[in-house]
Amino acid sequence: MKRLGLGLLFLGWLYGVPFLLIAGLIRRTSSPYLATHAAARSFGATTDTILVTALVLNLALPAAGLLLARLVRDRFWAYHFGWSLLGTALIFVAVGMAGNAATAPLIGWTPADQGPAPQVDQCIPISGGRGCPGG
């Protein structure tokens, strides 16, 4: 029973983190059609949530697994979770390289939208050029 739980935790890390990362990075590199700025922000926020969850789980799952396996003295899973920290580091390095290759930050990015450009409602007088109504 203990072994099954630790095994599920390990598989959750092994497959769950790459799953979230691939899905998140596909969204991040896509050029979606978004009618309004609010829709673009919401799309970006969902992508951020997926990527942040993947990065947090990438460290949290192996660390928790290693701790639990040590506590219940399970050598098999302690061995696997110990080595999985190397995988954690490799995933962080890979995500860091992807982040360096991108022109905009990987997390906290809002895609372009098709909404109307914000209207300029402030008149700035230019000396020698245009004047402003009422002043």
Partner: protein
């Protein structure tokens, strides 16, 4: 999962299951990632294959991708057989055999491109 205490070897069956799990994970993640992306409603649909529904895209992809996937699986099967005998962990053997298969497929693809 089989017992691993250093002296044991990975089992072929669980290594293969780990490898197949990788394929399932990557395909599912790609499908989920692309399904959430909204497309423009006013696209030009005059050209062939320019406006496929998600289901049609999936069918086309399965048709085109099946031979490649089959080739990858054959390489994975062979590599898993090799690695499972040498490595202490099924998880490591399955994961490395998938990575190795991708590398072999990439080299084969590059060689094919160069020979053309």
């Amino acid at each position: 999962m089989d017992d691993v205490d250093g002296s044991h070897r990975a089992s072929f069956r669980s290594s293969l299951l780990v490898a197949l799990g990788w394929y399932a994970t990557v395909i599912a993640a790609a499908l989920l990632g692309t399904s959430g992306i909204p497309t423009a409603p006013d696209r030009d649909c005059s050209a062939m294959f320019s406006c496929l529904t998600a289901q049609e895209q999936l069918g086309l992809l399965a048709l085109v991708g099946a031979p490649f996937l089959a080739g990858l699986l054959v390489i994975t099967l062979a590599l898993t057989g090799l690695l499972a005998r040498r490595l202490p962990s099924s998880i490591l053997a399955g994961t490395l055999s998938v990575l190795g298969s991708l590398a072999v497929a990439a080299v084969a693809g590059a060689a094919w491109q160069a020979a053309r």
